[in-house]
Amino acid sequence: MSRPSPRLIHAIWLTMAMVIVGCAGQKEPATKALAQAEAAIASVREDAAKYSPADLQAVEATYAALKANLASGDYKAVLAGAPQLMSAVTSLKSGVDAKKAEAEAAMAAATGEWNALSQDVPKMVEAIQSRVDSLSASKRLPKNVTQGSFDQAKSGLDMMKTTWADASAAFSSGDPVDAVSKAKQVKEKGAEVLKLLGMS
């Protein structure tokens, strides 16, 4: 086997040097692009975890892959993938902003609804409690109330009190949507109980 010519060796060295210099030239923009992406993800991470967890997970996975490329020196892959990642982060942010605005509007509406229910439901419970107390003191029940319906009314009243306590706790803990949902259950049960007691 003949030795490669000095000219060929020179050419190989020159090519390798160009590759090394070229790669070194891509390291800084690749690092910078990834740092920008990281900062963009960090700015939306908290809200995204709450409102768009699946989309956040996809973005985080893409970011992790590019970070691995950077670590292995594949700067070209980082530079090629970074714009797509930034686009995904922008899309994630607008989706999160929309969902957040929607959730805030629902919270505001629920708070208004809760304010009305918190005036109304206790009055319903009070009226039912008063009639249950009266009938409990009675030696016999009126013609329009059977013993079975009276028993159902009493257990319905217990459910109303328990659920109302849960609703109040939900509102106090900052969840007006759940509070309203529970308060509506109390009202529905109350309507049944009023019928059972012949009050509606």
Binding site: A127, R131, L135, S138, P142, K161, W164
Partner: protein, 68 residues
Amino acid sequence: MLMTDENQVPGKDNPYAQYYVVKSGDTLSKIAEEFYGDKMLYDRIFDANRDVLQDPNKIKPGQKLLIP
């Protein structure tokens, strides 16, 4: 605040409170029997309507009574 004390009478502004308009020939005992099944509980109706009734034996047709 949930009012659940026993013998708590609903206020006149309570939209769920039940009312009865007195007819000719009614007595509180008769009304108590109709709503509670027990005429002896007339005093509950009297107590809840002391703002319009002075005497449990004197009720007038047309009076609107709260039935607690």
